[in-house]
Amino acid sequence: MHTTNIFAPVSTPAQSIVDLSILVLTVTGLIFLVVSVLLVYAIVKFRARKTDADREPAQVYGSTQIELAWTIIPVLIVVVLFTATARVIHAIQDAPKPATALEVTVVGHQFWWEYRYPALGIVTANELHVPVSDPSRPRPTFLTLMSADTDHSFWIPQLAGKTDLIPNRINRMWFDPQRTGLFLGQCAQYCGTQHGKMLQRVSVDSPEDFDAWVKAQQQAAVPDREALAGRRVFENTACINCHTVRGTVANGRFGPDLTHLMSRATIASGAAGNTPDNLRLWLQNPDAIKPGSLMPAMQLSDADLDALVRYMQSLR
């Protein structure tokens, strides 16, 4: 069971937000308690009764002392909350980047995620892999956020608060996940028709697993004789206009990089599991899985579809 609960942090920024939120919740909770008790008391105590007859109550117009009291106390509460908040803003936003940090560039697309690891020469999509960050040997991940089209927002609640991906603007955020596992999230800023299925998966790997993953991703696609027919279909239709398979002529940038498609657990930005049946359905009629996605239906024959699915399955 993977949660997206904001109160289950596994990384420093998410943890400091929870710490701040507990203070804020306590203060606002106390205010709520005091005011609602006063309100309930007033409703019960001062309700009109039959015995009142028609007499009007004492006409009171105000009181400077009382007004001052309920001005100054809230001002003090604001000062306390603000100083606590400003510390957390500074701690998260202005955190220095250690030399050990992993740098990933995230590019938001309608309606999928492009992940580029410039120092490692890796390009992948939708499923982000980062190393676990042991507090004694921190290895945080610093993201550079950009958009290819409309606004998006990167949000894995257990790792950090969200930051938008805005065209013509470069944003940054970071997290240092302290345990391995799969963490879920999804695009939080409305970006168009399929905003709802622009899902995110972040795999936090042990150092060994992460290194192995990096090595595998750095390879170009390995040609597979069995899938030759499918490769021909791929390279002779418009697929290559949008998709890249490194080591082949396909070098499109509009859609996800497919070089290691089979290393991913899902397709269509998490909208469906990466199974042969789903792949075939996705190639035949993308709207069946994600209506409004920008992947076109290529009107292929059944034989070509089967061949193409075999080719996809060879991209390990």
């Binding site: 939120s21 606002t28 709520f32 001062f46 309700r47 105000g62 007004e67 809230p74 800023q189």
Partner: protein, 557 residues
């Protein structure tokens, strides 16, 4: 006074025909009729926007539901938001303002009656333009579609690359034209309040409602102008090759955000300040005491108006502003809570020591106090910008602002309906139906919007047309939808009450609530000229002075 009314009645030889009545209403420049037209327009769109909300809620009842397509869902939340803000909340509050302000300051009409009618018809036509998009939205080459850019219409989603056809233009033009109408009415309210007060009514003796409408109208002038400018810039982008917001040609997406929210946040206060005005009239009358701390209430209102002009970027905590900008908008946003808190305490102070009568208007007023308190406190949570990095754009925000707009603003509007309907129609609304309406709405409201906070905390973003199972969102969303249905039933009871009571309600008489402001000194409904003799006042509660000559307010003020 009464004899004048009779004289007018006798002059009518025949009852007017339907055609004549319609003509009278369409061509009217009477502030009371324009007020009622505004309110009728808003009630119509309230039902339309409510149906859109129900479609949204049916779609979200279960995970992977396919009641509507993503395209339809996106149009529904865009139209729901745009409708409720621009064509329900704004016109209904302008309607009450139009109706009440001249009556409460002892004037015979608004300062510019024709501008008043013009403003109303702009509002009505812009609403029709928005909904005409269902027929004409995509232009000639496809069936019509409503805009699907969300009610903030963030750039560059509105650029022609992402919104081809003309559906986004219907949104732009509707908002632009309704903005002109709002500016017209705001000018009118300011001129009326500043220059049409009756003899003796100094600024310090105005009913709080007039003060609050004055503040609200000033805010409209400041906030709606940049919104209108942004719409024109967007049209230039779309049709004249401008690049203000066109990111593909070097424009700025964040520029639009600033333009929109410098309108969008003051707008919240533009909507809520008239509701504070209703509270400040209703709570004293049903507590049988004058408002506690009148000068402080005025000062707090003006303070809110100023501070709320400097909080807009708290809608933008996730766009990657610097830590200094985030800190600035954190403190201004928290600071606005202080004058708002003062207002809540002053209403409590008004009730304290009173003899509170729980008629329907007061029931809604007490619910307003309780719910607005909660809405304010969740607002403080989101003012803490790091906390907002988690809460923003999630269902927590959706729950928060519905708590403000439904739990606060709509409850206050219902209170105002029950309170002033007798004045406008001469008939009381049914207390029995009113209590059914109240309790159904309270139950539905809390079921929907209390629970709606939780999926946000569990990571559910807003504006998604469907969601994945297994994240703990399903049951909550189902219950939220059930609550929406209960609210819809409650609104039906309310509409039924409005219609039935018009024919069957008990006669109201001049002053059914034993109230203290000038509108209760004349017949219900008031004659076209309001006051046969323009009144003179000596205190904030002229009718109290009349009813208690032995102990008039004028002695203490």
């Amino acid at each position: 006074m009464a004899s004048n009314v009779m004289a007018v009645d006798r002059m009518r030889i025949q009852e007017p025909t339907w055609g004549e009545t319609l003509h009278e209403w369409v061509t009217t420049v009477d502030h009371k009729r324009i007020g009622i037209l505004y309110i009728a327009l808003a009630l119509f769109f309230l039902v339309v926007g409510g149906v859109e909300a129900l479609i949204i809620r049916i779609q979200l009842m279960s995970a992977h539901n396919d009641f509507v397509s993503p395209q339809v869902f996106n149009r529904m939340f865009t139209m729901h938001g745009t409708t409720m803000i621009f064509f329900v909340a704004m016109p209904i509050l302008f309607g009450f303002g139009n109706y009440l302000v001249p009556l409460m300051i002892g004037a015979r009409d608004m300062a510019f009656p024709r501008l008043n009618a013009f403003s109303f018809w702009l509002a009505a036509i812009s609403g029709l333009v928005l909904y005409f998009s269902f027929l004409g939205g995509s232009g000639l080459y496809a069936a019509g579609t409503a805009p699907d850019v969300g009610w903030w219409a963030y750039a560059p989603l509105t650029a022609r690359a992402f919104s081809p056809g003309s559906s986004a233009d219907y949104w732009t033009i509707a908002v632009l034209v309704s903005g002109f109408g709002s500016i017209g009415t705001a000018i009118n309210l300011i001129a009326t309040i500043l220059s049409m007060r009756c003899q003796g009514m100094t600024l310090g003796r105005m009913p709080l409602l007039a003060w609050l409408y004055l503040t609200m109208a000033a805010m409209v002038l400041i906030a709606v102008t940049p919104l209108s400018a942004a719409q024109i810039m967007l049209l230039i982008d779309r049709y004249l090759g401008g690049h203000f917001f066109d990111t593909q040609a070097g424009g700025s997406a964040t520029l639009w955000m600033h333009f929109f929210w410098i309108f969008g946040h003051p707008e919240v206060y533009i909507l809520v300040i008239p509701c504070f005005a209703f509270m400040s009239e209703i709570i004293p009358v049903f507590s049988r005491k004058p408002i506690f701390g009148y000068p402080v209430m005025v000062a707090a209102t003006v303070c809110i108006a100023f501070v709320s002009m400097s909080v807009w970027a708290h809608h933008m905590f996730t766009i990657g502003m610097s830590s200094y900008a985030n800190s600035f908008f954190t403190i201004t946003t928290m600071a606005v809570g202080v004058p708002t808190g003062i207002k809540i305490f002053n209403w409590l102070g008004t009730m304290w020591g009173g003899r509170i009568q729980f008629k329907t208007p007061m029931l809604f007023a007490v619910a307003f106090l309780f719910q607005f308190l909660i809405a304010g406190l969740t607002g403080i949570m989101m003012a803490a910008s790091p906390f907002d990095w988690q809460l923003s754009l999630s269902y927590f925000v959706v729950a928060h602002f519905h708590y403000v707009i439904v739990g606060g603003i709509l409850f206050a509007i219902f209170a105002a309906f029950y309170y002033w309907y007798p004045k406008a129609t001469g008939r009381m609304l049914s207390e029995r139906l009113g209590k059914i309406h109240f309790w159904l709405f309270v139950i539905g409201f809390h079921l929907t919007f209390d629970l709606m906070h939780v999926p946000g905390l569990l990571g559910m973003p807003r504006r998604i047309y469907t969601y994945e199972p297994g994240r703990g969102w399903e049951t909550l969303n189902l219950l939220v939808s059930v609550g929406a249905v209960i609210q819809a039933v409650a609104v039906l009871v309310f509409v039924l009450n409005l219609i039935l009571s018009y024919w069957k309600g008990a006669r109201a008489g001049k002053d059914p609530w034993d109230a203290w402001t000038l509108e209760w000194s004349i017949s219900s409904p008031p004659p076209a000229y309001n006051f046969a003799a323009v009144p003179a006042v000596a205190s904030r509660r002229p009718l109290w002075d009349l009813k208690h000559p032995e102990d008039p307010d004028s002695r203490y003020e």
